[in-house]
């Protein structure tokens, strides 16, 4: 088996021979990807050292027959599968009433879980969609108010451009959500107050306070007031809108 010229190649040869020799189909299929040249090469190198049997098994002409053997084995397996005894006790796949009740219960439980999951997903998507795409939502009002502040000349001069806006900072450094509170006035109309922050190009910071009232359709649409107050002394106030 050992070649004087290519000792390392003979090892590969051994492996091929072993794989074919034991007729382990799984292992043979791995070797199918090996090119025929690779297979032939060690065989030719080690012709002297090989027994006739190994040559017959590992040689290229026999490779075809190996596949044929595999197919035969598959056929055998298929044939065997046909004679497997039925395991359901001869009822021919029919379930008893009790089993059917159990199955129906299982199906109902799984269906319930699926519906629950879909419902929760739907609720979440609805919440995020309403929040992001509707003008009367908290995020919509925040966006609107920020636009007004950024467009205001007095604020621009006081803070310096560009002006960045952010909400309340959480413990993890997120500032995506402004603080807000809702209340109902004596006339039964809903109001919402909101607070967020601005930071200008000069590094000066300011706080924005605003209140919105709902319209007849129950949607927040108009500012009752909107003003910007500088955070540093003398806490100058710039009123952008005051419709009280």
């Amino acid at each position: 088996m050992l070649s004087r010229l290519h000792p390392h190649k003979s090892i590969k040869m051994e492996f091929v021979a072993l794989a074919v020799g034991v007729k382990n189909m799984q292992r043979v299929t791995n070797f199918r990807e090996m090119s025929t040249k690779q297979l032939q090469y060690p065989v030719q190198m080690d012709l002297q050292g090989l027994s006739m049997k190994l040559l017959r098994v590992a040689g290229p002409p026999r490779w075809q027959s190996c596949r044929w053997q595999m197919r035969k084995a598959e056929d055998r397996g298929r044939g065997r599968r046909e004679v497997v005894e039925s395991r359901d006790g001869g009822t021919g796949g029919q379930l008893t009433v009790g089993q059917r009740v159990v199955e129906a219960g299982k199906d109902a439980t799984y269906l319930g879980i699926v519906i629950f999951g879909v419902g929760v997903m739907g609720l979440l998507f609805y919440a995020i969609g309403r929040e992001l795409f509707s003008g009367g939502s908290i995020n919509g009002i925040y966006t609107d108010a920020m636009k007004r502040c950024k467009g205001n000349e007095e604020v621009k001069v006081a803070l310096g451009t560009p002006i960045a806006g952010y909400g309340e900072e959480t413990r993890r450094g997120r500032r995506r959500h402004p603080a807000y509170t809702e209340y109902t006035d004596d006339a039964g109309k809903k109001h919402m107050r909101m607070k967020f922050y601005l930071k200008g190009g000069s590094g000066r910071r300011a706080t924005v306070h605003l209140e919105v009232t709902e319209n007849d359709r129950g949607k927040y649409d108009s500012f009752r007031y909107l003003f910007v107050q500088l955070d540093a002394y003398p806490h100058r106030t710039m009123i952008i809108e005051d419709n009280r």
Partner: protein, 169 residues
């Protein structure tokens, strides 16, 4: 006081990276300990050893993957904050999508698009949960009587409802 004045942004990336690593390592540790336990040969000794080996081998990898995701996500989030000059849920959704896309960059355009969509939807869901939670917690702090809600003192006094001069000091 310094804590409050500091901008969270560039530092947040490191925080998020570490937080994600911890989360991934703990979650991966729990998962791998169970998997290693089940896959080990019979016997308590083997099972315990298999569990321990699996945790030692795989949990840091899961943690590392999480850390990559978290760090990249936070980096993109900060980039969005810098570019858009605004902090809102869109930032995190967009950076989730970009992170998903970038991490799948080696698998081709189709895989990138798929990963980006998954990342965006996942972050949108997380944002949705956050919004629902803020909504619920805001309900608790609703003032009971409207008389509590005086107009802020920064504004000039309101004009009287019927005729007459406003009360100037």
């Amino acid at each position: 006081m310094e804590e409050y004045a500091r901008e969270p942004c560039p530092y947040r990336i490191v925080d998020d990276c570490g937080g994600a690593f911890t989360m991934g390592a703990i979650g991966g540790g729990v998962f791998q300990s169970i998997k290693g336990f089940r896959n080990a040969p019979a016997g308590w000794r083997h099972r315990a050893l298999g569990s321990l080996t699996a945790v030692k081998m795989r949990a840091p990898i899961t943690g590392g993957n999480f850390a990559i995701w978290g760090g990249l996500f936070s980096t993109f989030d900060c980039g969005m904050v810098y570019l858009r000059k605004k902090e809102d849920p869109w930032n995190s959704i967009a950076s989730g999508a970009v992170t998903g896309g970038v991490l799948a960059a080696r698998s081709g355009w189709a895989a990138m698009a798929g990963s980006a969509v998954i990342g965006g939807v996942l972050l949108a869901l997380i944002e949705g949960v956050g919004i629902l939670i803020t909504r619920m917690s805001a309900e608790q702090f609703k003032p009971i009587s409207p008389t509590e809600m005086e107009d802020p003192s920064q504004l000039p006094p309101k004009a009287p409802p019927f005729g007459g001069q406003p009360a100037y000091q």
